[in-house]
Symmetry: C2
């Protein structure tokens, strides 16, 4: 087995399940930390601030700083800012998205925006959707944090970012540029933060269709752990396999 110099780690289903930590993952991250191997948490959750994500991890005894968290909102804000510094953006999303866009120095406005940037917004309403649709039709570029269609909750699967975003893509007949996993953009940004190359880095996650495909699309090796969404049966239906599969992260040999 190859030795990796950097790890990209998914959160829900990999490190915890909702509010319950996965003990093997706690030990896994602690081992990375003790060995001094750089790691970064990659999440498609666009609603939270990285400070709050890090705090949640530390409350589970997982070593994590704010700088070790890359949310899809941060990746999206960075993507827009690199293309078009100081651009005018109409945001549809929660605190995590708004703060990430502001942190990149983008101008938030509902008048003549250059971009409509959309993530999960549980405070969605018809006026926000209307402003977004009209702006896209007037030529604003359409960027979306992630395409996840379902949001797991204790009540069952609620509408995910991708489902809400479909209102704008159906109305305008314009498909957004997605930034989060399984797109490679977020993984490429993560490598820059870690300072490791594609060849030296491993993407770790529980969901084939987001985590593992993000690795495959970005040419980064991947480790699928069966503690979340994807089962070994599911893998029989897919063409490109993860580099490694594992029942629990305790089995991983660094």
């Amino acid at each position: 087995m190859k030795t990796y110099k950097g790890y990209l780690i998914d959160l829900d289903g990999t490190v915890y399940n909702g509010t319950e930590k996965i003990p093997a993952a706690v030990d896994f991250v602690k081992a990375l930390n003790e060995k001094g191997i750089p790691y970064l948490f990659l999440t498609n959750n666009s609603t939270k601030h990285p400070r709050d994500v890090a705090e949640k991890l530390r409350s589970m005894a997982i070593p994590a700083t704010e700088a070790q968290v890359l949310t899809t909102s941060m990746a999206t804000a960075k993507y827009v800012s690199e293309k078009d510094p100081g651009a005018r953006v109409y945001p549809i999303g929660e605190e995590g998205l708004i703060m990430a866009l502001e942190a990149e120095g983008l101008i938030l406005t509902d008048e003549d925006p250059d971009y409509v940037v959309m993530g999960l917004d549980r405070d969605i309403n018809y006026e926000k959707l209307s402003i977004g649709a009209l702006a896209i039709r007037n030529g604003a570029k359409f960027i979306a944090t992630n395409g996840d269609i379902k949001l797991p909750s204790e009540r069952g699967f609620l509408p995910g970012a991708g489902s809400i975003i479909s209102v704008l893509s159906v109305t305008t007949e314009v498909k957004p540029t997605f930034i989060g996993k399984p797109e490679p953009i977020m993984v490429e940004q993560a490598l820059e933060v870690l300072g490791t190359s594609k060849e030296e880095t491993l993407m770790v996650g529980d969901n084939y269709y987001t985590d593992i495909l993000a690795g495959i699309h970005a040419d980064v090796d991947s480790l699928l752990v069966f503690t979340g969404v994807t089962t070994s049966d599911d893998l029989q239906a897919v063409d490109k396999q993860p580099t490694y599969t594992i029942q629990s992260l305790t089995e991983w040999d660094f």
Copy 2:
């Protein structure tokens, strides 16, 4: 030209454009009224009560009673009620839908509904979408008033019923049964109300993809008038042509 004993008439783009009446259509409906030929207005607008639709028509000097209006909400309520009288329905929509469902004696509830019935709802929020998605996933049947993706307004095209409905179809991966035009269901109901047969009835409208296709799907002759959405150029791209096309309803010979 064949003589028709009943007319089904679209509203927006055919009889008026937004708040402006189309004078040729006013004379057309007056002529039907004077000749005693039965007619019914068929609209995919699910938000309004038929009483208010008839009132708007009369304010334009178009002879119309509440009984001469069939909205997609009324058609949807009737469809559910015929399949399952007294069924438990979770409605997502505006006054026109809620009142139509109540008028059919259906039970409106957000707990364990047998049906989720959705139309345009400009008061949409995440909780309504969540309740709808969970109910469909728990086996409730998913019925939608109409699939129009855009809502014309003075600001431009806003999200239509079909766009908002896509949140639930994307989240649940269940496609709804659509009732409005271009489905045949609404036309078939309209024939029952008029009391004329398919062969004796003409569907009149400005939109090929809703009005004319509804006629074609229901085996009813159709008349496309070029006062609204569809142009004669558009027709070159379609396979099945309307029975008749006309520049203005003044040209029509009864």
